[in-house]
């Protein structure tokens, strides 16, 4: 029985609160997240991971397009070899088919090996209702069966449980005292208890990781060895899997097998990979041959295959990695990060296979950090899929009020900027002299109180521009480079000092800067809110505003940069002007380090200890890793800190929707930085700055949080 999935934001927040208080799960998942990364990276060193992932994506994309041909070929080949192939349109039909196979063969008891598809269709409950004895034999699945729970991870179903809890459950079934500390002994209990079940079972049910069309064979990937017992000992074997597991050739399975175990469990290969081709000899069977049935489930898959975006789900090999690296999963656990399937793909599949209302609730809980996309065995753009689901809910159910208001306001730049100025005005009486809003009654913020919020600047950057422009790159004679500056709302209105610092650096290095006044919000928040039409309008405005001749369009906001560079193509399609615009966009660090170059005549090296926070949009979306660190090293002592690339918890509107999660991520990040001994933390994104500056202030840390532009400006020779 799966856990109770949330149907409303309220119920969901209650469950999240509970999960955040589960200290065992928190510790376990923290440890897992760190160890997984390290061991996973190591086992990928010896292969070309990117290339393998690309090949898996290509094969699976093609499979999604040729699903009917593949199915027909698979069926023909398997039936040639004595297999019965069934196709189930939905969960109910799949359950019926399997119950009927059991009835026709006089089956009384069933052993199962791990099969997420059976969780998807709620198979066990159905079979038990027919009076059948059903026993899970995968250790983790058996444990959660004893507790009547659903898996909290696709590969490690019982990761949320402690050895003591497991020992208690084992005491209940065996009636014997168990050693509550010794995991090795507990494992032996499973071996002892389950062996007789295998011997007695009439039917085995397994999943299948690959269905190979050219030969009608299936491949099953396991570690425990229960899978082989399940498909060998009983006289009937039912393999249940999704249509998305069809691949054309043996070689395709072998390609995916180079990634799946590495990504799932950091293994080069699992202990067992079994290729079953046809119904082989079977002593227990009355015919002397195994009764082998393969059930291929549709349940929304062929519909997804026809969708240009969602067809990507065919690439999923169920490795579970998207959960392993998800900062939200790490905090709340799998039961709160999925319905049946867990992790980023779990959110998407809940939408495609299961319940609309649950999907709507769960899909809000993606911070958009891109870690899942970066690690996925099939290179699925999971954040974009989740984003699109939100957008669809927005279109189908009507946008929630805040999204509607934002959309309305941002369509018109002047109105939007007026509103921002007004927000500034209304904040002013509460602002401290250091630029934080501390005294707003917290009741206005609810759980937002975990960080100090910036007050909006007295004077936005765009109002300072006429003054600044006078000095912009003119004393240096002929400029080295000509750029246009894209400010982004957060810097323009909240952190103009980050841009002012950049102007100092540009001036010292001989860069001529333009600031097109018609520029507006990049539009990312609109995309995040699912307001894609207005997002496209806003994008067009910006493309037009930056039509001049520049060597680069530079922005100090990593999120804007990634949206301007990659997001616009998605929004505007093949638009030549937009493509030219996007090609010129550079983030500040890459521009300064890779294109401009700062020599020691311009900057000096100070002795400040500086840590770095790698913004999600910079390190993953834009793949910029070296440039900012090199810049820090040029002017200061760079002190590495743990998990530099993990999300700070901001995530734009996410921090307002899930403040409890946002706050935890922020605290973790700041704890790592504090441990490093750094006195300053620099970053490349005003959003991260808002989160971490505000957090450091709230926590009273002796830590200066600045943009990297400010670090550079502080170390200009002129300034010293």
């Amino acid at each position: 029985m799966p856990h109770e999935s949330p149907r409303s934001a309220r119920a969901y927040h209650r469950q999240i609160e509970e999960a955040l208080n589960d200290s065992f799960q928190r510790r376990t998942l923290d440890k897992f997240a760190v160890e997984y990364r390290a061991s996973r990276d190591k086992v990928f060193e010896e292969v070309d991971g990117r290339e393998l992932i690309r090949r898996i994506a290509d094969v699976k994309d093609a499979a999604a397009q040729h699903i009917e041909e593949l199915y027909a070929q698979f069926k023909t080949e398997a039936e040639k070899r004595g297999v019965v192939v069934h196709r189930a349109a939905d969960a109910a039909e799949a359950r019926e088919i399997i119950a009927k196979i059991a009835a026709e063969n006089g089956v009384k008891s069933i052993v199962k090996s791990k099969c997420m598809t059976s969780e998807e269709i709620g198979l066990n409950a159905h079979l038990r209702a027919q009076g059948l004895d059903v026993c899970e034999t995968d250790l983790g699945e058996w444990i959660i069966q004893l507790r009547n729970e659903g898996p909290s991870h696709m590969v490690l179903p019982a990761i949320h449980l402690s050895r003591q809890q497991v020992a208690e459950d084992f005491e209940r079934v065996t009636g014997e005292k168990q050693d509550r500390e010794d995991v090795q002994r507990l494992v032996k209990v499973a071996r002892r208890e389950l062996r007789p079940k295998f011997e007695a079972a009439d039917m085995g049910i397994s999943g299948a990781n690959f269905c190979i069309a050219e030969t009608g064979s299936i491949a099953i990937v396991t570690n425990e060895g229960n899978g082989r017992l399940v498909n060998t000992l009983p006289r009937v074997h039912v393999a249940l899997t999704g249509l998305d597991k069809l691949v054309p050739k043996i070689d395709d399975a072998l390609t995916a097998l180079q990634v799946l175990p590495r990504n799932a469990t950091s293994q080069r290969l699992t202990s067992y990979v079994t290729f079953i081709d046809g119904a082989g000899p079977c002593a227990k069977s009355p015919t002397g041959r195994k009764m082998l049935h393969i059930v291929l489930l549709d349940n929304g898959r062929t519909k997804a295959a026809k969708d240009p975006l969602f067809s990507q789900v065919f690439r999923c090999v169920r490795c579970g990695a998207c959960a392993n690296v998800c900062p939200v999963f790490r905090l709340v656990g799998g039961h709160r990060m999925g319905h049946v399937y867990i992790g980023a793909i779990g959110l998407v599949l809940t939408y495609l296979f299961h319940d609309r209302q649950i999907a709507k609730t769960l899909c809000q809980n993606c911070i958009g950090c891109g870690s899942c996309k970066d690690i996925c065995s099939g290179g699925i753009d999971l954040p974009a899929l989740i984003q699109e689901i939100r957008a669809r809910f927005g279109r189908e159910d009507g946008s929630p009020l805040p999204a509607k208001l934002a959309s309305l306001a941002m369509k018109n730049r002047k109105l939007f900027h007026t509103l921002l100025r007004f927000a500034n005005f209304s904040h002013r009486p509460f602002a401290g002299s250091d630029g934080f809003v501390r005294h707003l009654p917290m009741v206005l913020f609810g759980k937002q109180g975990f960080k100090s919020l910036p007050s909006l600047a007295k004077k936005p950057f765009r109002d300072m521009w006429p003054e600044l422009q006078k000095g912009a790159g003119q004393d240096a004679g002929k400029p080295k480079l000509k750029i246009a500056l894209f400010a982004g709302c957060a810097q323009d209105f909240a952190y103009p000092q980050q841009l002012v610092a950049a102007m100092k650096v540009f001036a010292a290095a001989g860069v001529e800067v333009s600031f097109p006044m018609e520029q507006t919000c990049c539009g990312l928040p609109l995309t995040m809110l699912g307001e894609s039409k207005t997002a496209a309008d806003v994008a067009r405005q910006n493309v037009a505003a930056f039509a001049g001749e520049y060597d680069a369009i530079v922005t100090l906001c990593a999120s804007c940069a990634s949206h301007l560079k990659h997001g616009y193509a998605r929004l505007l399609g093949d638009d030549a002007a937009a493509a030219a615009f996007s090609a010129k966009v550079m983030d500040f660090s890459s521009f300064v380090h890779d294109k401009l170059g700062l020599d020691s005549a311009v900057v000096a090296h100070g002795n400040e200890k500086v840590a770095y926070h790698a913004s999600c949009h910079l390190c993953r979306e834009l793949g910029v890793k070296e440039a900012p660190r090199a810049l820090i090293r040029q002017v200061a002592e760079y002190v590495p800190s743990a998990e530099e690339e993990s999300c700070c918890g901001f995530g734009g509107t996410f921090s307002a929707k899930f403040p409890e999660i946002s706050a935890e991520l922020m605290r973790k990040k700041l704890a790592h930085v504090t441990e490093s001994g750094a006195k300053r933390l620099v970053l490349d994104c005003p959003g991260c700055a808002m989160q971490l500056k505000g957090g450091a202030d709230k926590l009273g840390l002796d830590l200066k949080v600045t943009h990297i532009s400010e670090l550079l400006a502080d170390n200009l020779r002129d300034a010293k």
């Binding site: 376990t28 440890k31 160890e35 010896e46 080949e77 040639k80 070899r81 004595g82 034999t137 250790l139 983790g140 444990i143 490690l156 179903p157 019982a158 990761i159 449980l161 402690s162 050895r163 995991v183 090795q184 507990l186 494992v187 032996k188 499973a190 071996r191 389950l194 190979i212 030969t215 064979s217 570690n223 425990e224 060895g225 229960n226 082989r228 017992l229 060998t232 043996i250 070689d251 072998l254 390609t255 097998l257 180079q258 469990t265 293994q267 080069r268 290969l269 699992t270 202990s271 067992y272 990979v273 079994t274 290729f275 079953i276 081709d277 046809g278 082989g280 000899p281 079977c282 002593a283």
Partner: protein, 150 residues
């Protein structure tokens, strides 16, 4: 005159290293007779209830894997039920990479053939309780490969 070996030492060495990395014990012997003798001794020491001796069709160096033809149930069960599996593998049958096993698999599956092929890389294992690695959950606790060079 010394016969040049029929296998590539680099590939074989990688097989040994990677097999050992997944807790497989590897013993190199000179020829078939020596392999049979060692296997017989191991079987005699523990008895067939506890030891299964099986010939391996192919090895895969990159993953330290034994590829075993297990079409009949008896052979298959020998690699599942006893606590120890003893594999006999000829060095010349080791292929370097996982992808190199495709022709072998295809030859076993093509033209309507019915087959059951097992890739085995070390003993049965689990990490389902607190992610603590444990060996021998449902299958063998120990895997021993007798690597026959000649």
């Amino acid at each position: 005159m010394e016969k040049s070996p029929s296998f590539d030492e680099g590939t074989v060495a990688r097989f040994v290293e990677r097999a050992e990395a997944v807790a497989t014990k590897v013993t190199r012997v000179a020829d078939g007779a020596a392999a049979e003798k060692l296997a017989a001794e191991m079987l005699a020491a523990e008895g067939s209830e506890h030891v299964g001796v099986v010939r391996v069709a192919k090895g895969i160096a990159d993953t330290g894997t034994c590829v075993v033809v297990t079409d009949d149930e008896e052979t298959r069960l020998k690699t599942m039920l006893p606590e120890t599996t003893v594999f006999i593998l000829k060095a010349e049958d080791i292929v370097p990479h996982l992808a190199d096993i495709a022709p072998f698999l295809r030859s076993r599956q093509a033209d309507g053939r019915v087959s059951y092929t097992s890739f085995i890389s070390g003993p049965s294992r689990t990490a389902d309780i607190e992610r603590v690695s444990a060996i021998g959950v449902h299958g063998p606790l120990a895997v021993h490969v007798i690597l026959q060079e000649g």
